[in-house]
């Protein structure tokens, strides 16, 4: 394992240590691709014993548990606990702008997003969930956390300004968490949400922003250049643009929030200047609810 992955993992361990084991809220999903040991606290299809109940009409003779029935006069049927498959897919944007850090005292956005993603993944894994990066087969266990950490760090930064989550990797019953700054073209994200809504996939959009992007502290003559250099904007009076920029940012957020709500998703914001545990708690509560 690379040292960088080591660090990421250690950071994620620290961030997720305070969290209780996170269990995805049980929601029946019609077709789980991968059966998971996720007790639904009711009788159903599964492997574990749930309860004995008196046999009713319609129960086949094969289903009667004879050993239990022999101890009384009635016939009992052995129910098993219903189990559903639950998996979570995590995606962190690799757009060129994600390595931006407004100050030396702040981490880059991608670093913070990786940290949040891995912390979340570890919490989920600790609860027995199957977790994977989007597009990869989800697996349970602590070992998966290490694979995830490696995969997160190993993914190279793109030289484009936008990175779209892989819509073709969406599977029904997944819960998806997207980390991005959502400052690029919003259309791929909207398309992704529409497809997710069709497949019944729920999830969270997590917007990770640097305080500079949130507050727009520039003044005077500034030549703005996007991370890849593809876009530029020249201004003589940056401070005068602040209001317009903030308005556009709010508009973008409103657009994403609306689209998320329509698809049954959540939209959250995280500032790299703030503590990561805040965002993690929010993510947890959203995924739990």
């Amino acid at each position: 394992m690379k040292p960088q992955a080591d660090q990421l993992r250690a950071g994620a361990e620290a961030a997720s240590a305070a969290l209780p084991a996170l269990m995805l809220s049980a929601e029946r999903l019609a077709a789980a691709l991968v059966p998971g040991a996720h007790g639904q606290r009711r009788a159903g299809m599964g492997e574990d014993f749930w309860q004995y109940r008196p046999a009713t009409a319609g129960d086949t003779a094969r289903s009667i548990d004879w050993r239990r029935s022999a101890r009384s006069d009635a016939q009992f049927v052995r129910d098993r606990e219903a189990q559903v498959a639950q998996s979570a897919a995590i995606w962190v944007s690799a757009a060129a702008g994600m390595d931006y850090a407004g100050g030396a005292d702040r981490p880059g956005k991608r670093d913070r997003a990786n940290l949040l993603a891995l912390a979340l993944a570890m919490a989920l894994l600790a609860g027995g969930e199957r977790v994977a990066l989007a597009g990869q087969p989800p697996r349970p266990g602590r070992l998966q956390a290490e694979r995830l950490a490696e995969a997160l760090v190993a993914r190279p930064l793109l030289d484009r300004d936008e990175d779209a989550p892989p819509a073709e990797a969406l599977r029904p019953g997944q819960r998806v968490v997207l980390f991005d700054d959502f400052l690029g073209d919003p259309q791929p994200v909207l398309d992704y949400l529409a497809r997710a809504a069709v497949l019944g996939v729920q999830g969270v959009l997590m917007q990770v922003l640097d305080p500079d992007e949130d507050g727009f502290p520039w003044r005077g003559a500034v030549l703005f250049r996007s991370a890849s250099g593809a876009l530029r904007h020249d201004t003589r009076d940056a401070a005068g643009l602040r209001a317009a920029y903030l308005a556009r940012l709010a508009e973008r957020r409103a657009q994403l929030t609306g689209a998320a709500r329509m698809a049954g998703w959540h939209f959250g914001m995280h500032d790299t200047g703030a503590a990561p545990s805040q965002a993690l708690l929010w993510l947890w509560s959203v995924l739990e609810g």
Binding site: Y100, D181, G220, V222, F224, H233, R236, A244, R252
Partner: protein, 639 residues
């Protein structure tokens, strides 16, 4: 020089830079202050936004005008503008530059070179031939006239010589190749030199002569021989500079040992001269290696110290009784201790020391020795004979016939403070204000118990230069030939008096020795014996010492004539003697009948350079203020 209306430009080609001003205007105009480059992921959100407060993308025209004007002022300033320059009156014909290249030309040598180079440049521009007459005594034959460009390097390499300016002896022969229509630029050192009048006449006859006299005054330094060595400071100006005495300090480092102030001044035909007494303790004086006039860098303002200023040679003659008696009883012991720090001592028999040609001979309590052959001749030739009385003289039968005494002595002597005498020991009376001991203070406890008395004579009072408190002579002096005879009427040891163990004794001897002539006859004799003088240390024209390399020995006859080509000013060694050849001496200011005199080495006219550069500075300051004001306005708009 380029003339535009009343303004001339010394370096007009710089004006070509003015052509760049419109380009500069365009560049300054098209270049707004460069924006800060910021990498910002949210740039997409900014696309299409308009600046709410449009700020001028161009520098305001008045700021631009200010900057361009400032740069124009700089360019004009560096082009060397001169308001109403006096047109060069020298003709456009062939040019002859006469360059006085003696030591007197050294102080403002760079200005002379620059002036001559300007003239050569003009001749080169006009395509006229030019010639350079370097008046340092080395030019021979007819002057070659060359293209002016070829002379510039020669002129730059010229250095003033450490001797007087010398013109070639025959002007007509030197000017044999001179073309017609000659214009002459004479860079004079302001002094008259042999042959100058002939040259001026010869040049005036065939051409127009422009003379550039030096700006500053010429100053020279000369040693005045005499009992008390002094310096003569001559100047064509009236200000009296100080003279620095430079020598080795006790650590052996050359440094300024003293500053001598000029005394009385005297005017003589445009030259002011001061006598500068070298009023220094002997120890200090002996260490001096050179005198120089403060602030005058020329060989004429430097006087190298040689033997004539150095320690006197003092011979102690007579038997030294240290062998048979105790050392503190020997008169020679006290004399040795008193004289050794400031003089060169020679000891031996009288016949031997006479061979060494001393300046002073001291005889302590000797009788009969004065008949030594050659002693009288030595004194008459300028020697100083100092004699001390003593028991042996007092006991002599033939004291009255003893020669080489300043006064006739009475036999027997006088005992004033002895055990069998009634009187008290006598103290020394204060010295007369005009005698050789003037100014020396007499300690109260100096007493004389015994003395030799002089026969009363009419001139006894004149011959006494020190007396006891009762008026009897203590020291008498007379002149014999060119020399002097001095007699101390008491002993040189503590037998008759405690004078010998007082500080006064040292001071009196020092005064006497300093009054001795420094081997007046010796140099001629030496020069005859010493046909050649070897240069040891020579001066360049600026008065700086350089190693004497590649210089041939100088024949004594040439040496006597003073510094010349091949024998620059400096220190020369001949056998035991070291003699200085000093450049300074009498001088006479030159006059220039019929020649045009150019005042000032710089081109006349009002130099505008400083004003224009100052104007540019003011404009740049205004520009800075304007820029600051603009920035403040922008910030106000942002707030």
């Amino acid at each position: 020089m380029l003339l535009i209306g009343p303004i001339g430009f010394l370096t007009p080609w710089i004006l070509a830079a003015l052509a760049a001003l419109p380009v500069l205007w365009l560049i300054l105009r098209a270049m707004p202050p460069s924006p800060r480059l910021v990498r910002f992921p949210g740039t997409r959100l900014l696309l299409g936004l308009k600046d709410p407060h449009p700020v001028a993308r161009h520098t305001p025209w008045w700021l631009l005008l200010l900057r361009v004007l400032a740069i124009a002022a700089l360019i004009l300033g560096f082009a060397g503008p001169v308001w109403k320059p006096s047109p060069d009156q020298a003709g456009q014909g062939p040019l002859l530059v006469v360059m006085d290249a003696g030591w007197a030309a050294a102080p403002d040598w760079p200005q002379r070179q620059a002036r001559a180079l300007r003239a050569l440049d003009r001749a080169a521009a006009a395509g006229q031939p030019a010639a350079l007459l370097v008046a340092d005594g080395t030019a021979t034959g007819a002057l070659p006239f060359l293209p002016a460009t070829e002379l510039a390097a020669q002129l730059r390499a010229l250095r003033p010589a450490a001797w007087e300016t010398r013109y070639p002896p025959d002007p007509q022969a030197a000017l044999a190749e001179a073309p017609a229509g000659l214009s002459v630029l004479w860079l004079s050192d302001g002094l008259d030199h042999p042959g100058r009048a002939e040259w001026l006449a010869a040049l005036s006859g065939r051409s127009s002569v422009t003379v550039v006299p030096p700006e500053g005054a010429q100053q020279t330094l000369e040693l005045v021989a005499g009992d008390q060595p002094a310096l003569r400071l001559r100047s064509t100006g009236t200000a009296a500079p100080e003279v620095l005495a430079i020598g080795l300090d006790p650590q052996g480092m050359p440094r300024e040992l003293a500053r001598l102030k000029p005394g009385e001044s005297a005017q003589d035909r445009g030259v002011t001269s001061w006598l500068v007494p070298i009023d220094l303790p002997s120890e200090l004086r002996n260490r001096i290696t050179r005198f120089e006039i403060e602030g005058q860098a020329s060989a004429g303002a430097v006087l190298l110290a040689d033997d004539s200023l150095r320690r006197r040679k003092v011979a102690l003659a007579g038997d030294d009784r240290a062998g048979e008696g105790q050392r503190l009883l020997s008169p020679l012991h006290y004399l040795r201790r008193a004289l050794a720090p400031t003089t060169d001592l020679i000891e031996g028999g009288l016949g031997d020391v006479l061979q060494a040609a001393p300046d002073v001979i001291v005889l302590a309590d000797q009788i009969g020795l004065a008949e030594e052959p050659g002693l009288r001749e030595w004194v008459e030739g300028g020697g100083l004979l100092i004699r001390f009385a003593g028991p042996r003289m007092a006991a002599s039968e033939r004291l009255a016939e003893e020669p080489l005494l300043p006064v006739r002595l009475r036999a027997g002597g006088r005992d004033v403070g002895g055990a069998l005498a009634w009187g008290e020991p006598r103290s020394v009376a204060p010295f007369a204000a005009d005698g050789p001991f003037a100014g020396l203070s007499v300690p109260n406890d100096t007493t004389v118990r015994a003395q030799l008395l002089a026969e009363p004579a009419p001139d006894l009072a004149d011959r006494s230069i020190a007396r006891l408190s009762d008026g009897t002579p203590l020291v008498t002096r007379t002149v014999l030939g060119q020399g002097q005879l001095v007699l101390f009427h008491t002993t040189a040891n503590a037998e008759w008096s405690n004078l010998a163990i007082s500080g006064l004794f040292v001071e009196m001897l020092d005064r006497l020795v300093r009054s001795a002539r420094a081997s007046a006859a010796a140099p001629e004799a030496d020069r005859a014996e010493q046909p050649f003088w070897l240069p040891e240390l020579v001066l360049d024209g600026f008065g700086r010492t350089t190693e004497a390399e590649g210089l041939a020995p100088v024949a004594a006859a040439d040496f006597a004539r003073g510094p010349a080509p091949g024998a620059p000013a400096g220190l020369y060694r001949g056998g035991e003697r070291v003699a200085a050849l000093n450049a300074g001496g009498p001088m006479a200011p030159a006059d220039w009948p019929g020649a045009r005199i150019e005042r000032g080495a710089q081109a006349p006219g009002l130099d505008l350079r400083g004003w224009l550069v100052a104007l540019a500075a003011v404009l740049f300051a205004l520009d800075a203020l304007g820029s600051a004001w603009l920035a403040r306005g922008r910030q106000g708009a942002m707030a």
